[in-house]
């Protein structure tokens, strides 16, 4: 018998209009003969239509996983299964894409074939954390689906109180602003901590995000427990002739209004000969002028990353952005990457040992105070970590001289290192 389709007048309204319609996609799947995926999607559409009518969601969670792993599957059981039995189980597999979300058509086609066979045929590219989301699978099919995906080289992503799937910007692969090898940092850190992703045992979720420059194309500062963002320490690179070409093209007024006057720290001034006077000491590496004139300006050559920690959404204490923990870590040699990976691991260890249940690292830092966190991680305090030193006199400073000595020590060490 052919499973009959439910009428979906509300969803159907979303088929019209110029933007690609997910409903068309669902329909195509549902109409695809008697395939198991088609049968499942007929009822899925029925339930979704029901949600649109009643303005209510009908999924509840549960526990489903694959052999050897604790996480990565988001189980969904229907609360209206009696009405829509074929989509009563509609689990999602979170799978990590190649860093930077690059695909060969071969890989994409294999993914489609596997998901058509075992799942609903619905794939989200990508989830907000960066996973490939294979959406819609029965409990029974989760294992075979994963096996086949795993065989073509893909691996499960994160869910629950665990290390989460990470994201890195296109960066080195196709962007002149990129200040470090995002793919390498992304893979070395995550693949070194896979156990924390596949066998959830952390107090709560932990997310890394990698952006090649301060444009932060993966929203790392807001959305990552640890943001790794490229920057540079020396002077930016300036091609004055190209600057002059730009001024000739847009005119002085436009140049002043959109570049000079928009620099957040007044580090730029237009010389009378239309060359740019860059005060690199005052430059805060915001990227703006470089963004406006990518031909004329580029980041400097002494490159590395800034580490910020504590980004998260609002649960419990309210939204937080990450704040600076390492103003600059040089990232060039193998040793440099090793140092970064080690720091990431130490942070995970600290998190595992010190965070309360369901507490993000940003909440932990907020609770114990940044200074204490830095001490625990053996990171020296640095004025780049603050917008400005304290304005409140409510502090006890009788050990000031000891603390000051540390600063001068650290300064000497840094000078020596150079």
């Amino acid at each position: 018998m052919t499973k009959k389709t439910h009428p979906t007048p509300l969803l159907d309204e979303l088929k019209s209009g110029p933007w690609p319609s997910f409903v068309d996609g669902l329909q195509r799947l549902a109409d695809d003969g008697d395939k198991p995926s088609a049968i499942m999607m007929k009822d899925l559409m029925g339930q979704l239509e029901h949600s649109y009518e009643t303005r209510t969601g009908y999924w509840k969670g549960g526990t489903v996983s694959v052999f050897g792993y604790g996480g990565g599957v988001i189980p969904r059981f229907s609360e209206v299964a009696e009405k829509f039995p074929e989509s009563s189980e509609f689990h999602t597999l979170r799978v990590q894409p190649p860093a930077g979300m690059h695909y060969s058509t071969k890989l994409l086609r294999d993914m489609c074939d596997i998901w058509e066979e075992h799942g609903s045929g619905l794939i989200a590219l990508h989830g907000q954390s960066g996973d490939i989301m294979f959406q819609g699978c029965t409990t029974e099919k989760v294992q075979p689906a994963f096996d086949d995906l795993n065989k073509i080289g893909l691996d499960m992503g994160g869910a629950g109180p665990a290390l989460r799937t990470s994201m890195s910007c296109v960066g080195h692969a196709r962007c002149e602003q990129s200040c470090y090898d995002e793919v390498r940092a992304h893979r070395q850190i995550i693949n070194g901590l896979l156990d924390e992703m596949h066998r959830p045992a952390l107090p709560y979720k932990f997310k890394f995000k990698f952006s090649g420059c301060p444009n932060d194309c993966v929203n790392a500062i807001h959305r990552a427990d640890m943001a790794v963002i490229g920057t540079w320490r020396d002077d930016m690179q300036v091609d004055q002739e190209k600057v002059q070409e730009h001024v000739a093209k847009v005119g002085r007024k436009q140049m002043i209004d959109t570049v000079v006057a928009m620099c957040p720290t007044r580090a730029l001034s237009l010389n009378d000969d239309d060359t740019l006077d860059v005060d690199n000491r005052s430059c805060v590496r915001c990227m703006h002028c470089i963004n406006v004139m990518p031909k004329a300006l580029s980041p400097g050559k002494d490159r590395g990353v800034t580490i910020l920690m504590g980004g998260k959404r609002s649960l419990k204490i309210g939204d937080q952005m990450g704040t600076v923990i390492h103003p600059f870590l040089k990232l060039e040699t193998d040793e440099d990457y090793e140092t970064l990976v080690e720091f990431a691991e130490e942070c995970i260890d600290f998190f595992a040992e010190n965070a309360l249940e369901h507490e993000r690292i940003g909440e932990t830092i907020d609770r114990i105070g940044l200074a204490n966190f830095l001490e625990a991680m053996d990171v020296p305090v640095d004025p780049n970590m603050v917008n400005h030193p304290r304005t409140s006199s409510y502090v006890r400073t009788d050990d000031w001289d000891i603390e000051a000595a540390k600063w001068f020590e650290h300064k000497k060490a840094k000078a020596a290192a150079k």
Partner: protein, 359 residues
């Protein structure tokens, strides 16, 4: 399958190496790009230090794609892009082609196939969104539907670069806000305390964990008609919904509770101004599927005011900082209410301790 078999041990590949899946020109020039320009909306032209060039064509998708849609994209990638493609952090498809001549025909085919080309530079890109009724266990609304209806209306802004700077919108189907911050964010905002099904609490909820989840300590354990349950101090409760995921019997959703709020001025980049959170500009809007017209109306008012009045490179929030909030509310005909005076921790820093005023 009924025949018993020992399940397979996973190979812990971790994050796959992208190089086998990366367009050859990108692979060859990895880390060696020199500059870029945008010949037209939806197309990026990157030039490598060695002189290699690549043209990227960006097309919008529905993110939640059926295999048919993905296979269609593959066809085009095979025909024009040497069998490779990538997706952006906003679920747009990107085809890398090795000559400018290929971009035109590719764009044509994409349009034929129903994929809008754009989302680059100072345009409105795809709205980043979340799960909603399609899959989440706690949604107040749908996600894909909201996005589809808005992108239909804002299609022109995706395919044209007519904004002062890029516009990045987000939606979230509950107050948890998986969609994150945006130039314009459309988020569920609950307006009533949870309705508790006391018969279920004891069995379903780990009560201490639920009590601990409340940001304002409004939940306390209590015996309700003989059963151990939870009680909410409705004076304290700020209707955030945080207690609902760990305790489904504390139902936060409902026609009288699930409303939609609009936020503006969120920013992630460090360009010019530091990253910022988005700010509340409208609330209590109806959750009105399938096309949420009341939401679309306000979003358009905001977007077009910005389009008309913003200066080159000003992000939406930066535009407002220049012209001032009074004028923003005037131009969009939205209301400023006492609810928009922040009172959460650290709120004092949001008060104006200066005579910097906009008249």
């Amino acid at each position: 399958m009924n025949k018993a078999e020992m399940p397979r041990r996973p190979d812990e590949h971790g994050v796959p190496d992208p190089f086998p899946y990366m367009h050859p020109t990108l692979r060859a020039n990895y880390g060696n790009w020199d500059w870029h320009e945008r010949p037209r909306p939806g197309v990026l032209h990157h030039v490598a230090k060695g002189g290699d060039e690549i043209w990227t064509v960006r097309a919008g998708t529905q993110r939640q794609m059926d295999v048919g849609t993905i296979r269609k994209l593959c066809e085009l990638a095979d025909e024009f892009a040497d069998g490779f493609m990538r997706f952006t952090t906003r679920s747009n498809a990107e085809f890398m082609v090795t000559s400018a001549d290929k971009t035109g025909p590719l764009i044509e085919k994409l349009n034929e196939a129903g994929f809008p080309v754009g989302g680059t530079g100072n345009s409105l890109s795809m709205i980043s969104h979340t799960q909603g009724w399609l899959h989440c266990d706690i949604p107040g609304t749908d996600a894909s539907g909201v996005v589809k209806s808005l992108m239909d209306e804002l299609h022109h802004e995706f395919t044209h670069e007519e904004m002062p700077n890029r516009v990045r919108m987000t939606t979230s189907c509950c107050q948890i806000n998986c969609g994150g911050q945006g130039d314009i964010a459309i988020n569920v905002q609950y307006v009533k305390p949870p309705k508790i099904n006391h018969d279920l609490v004891a069995n379903v909820c780990e009560r201490p964990a639920v009590v601990a989840r409340c940001p304002v300590a409004a939940i306390r354990p209590a015996m309700v008609n003989g059963k151990p349950s939870l009680e909410v101090d409705e004076k304290k409760c700020i209707c955030c919904g945080a207690c609902y995921p760990p305790c489904p019997p504390m139902q936060i959703n409902g026609p009288d509770s699930t409303k939609i709020a609009i936020w503006v001025g969120g920013k992630h980049s460090n360009a010019r101004s530091k990253p910022t959170f988005h700010k509340l500009v409208a609330a209590n809007l109806p959750n009105n599927p399938p096309r949420w017209p009341e939401v679309a109306d306000i979003v358009k008012r905001i977007l077009y005011a910005y389009k008309e009045d913003g200066r080159p490179w000003e992000r939406l929030g930066e535009w407002i900082d220049r012209i001032g909030w009074p004028r923003f509310f005037e131009m969009t005909d939205l209301a400023f209410t006492k609810h928009q005076i922040d009172d959460w921790r650290g709120a004092r820093s949001s008060l104006n301790a200066s005579t910097h005023l906009h008249f």
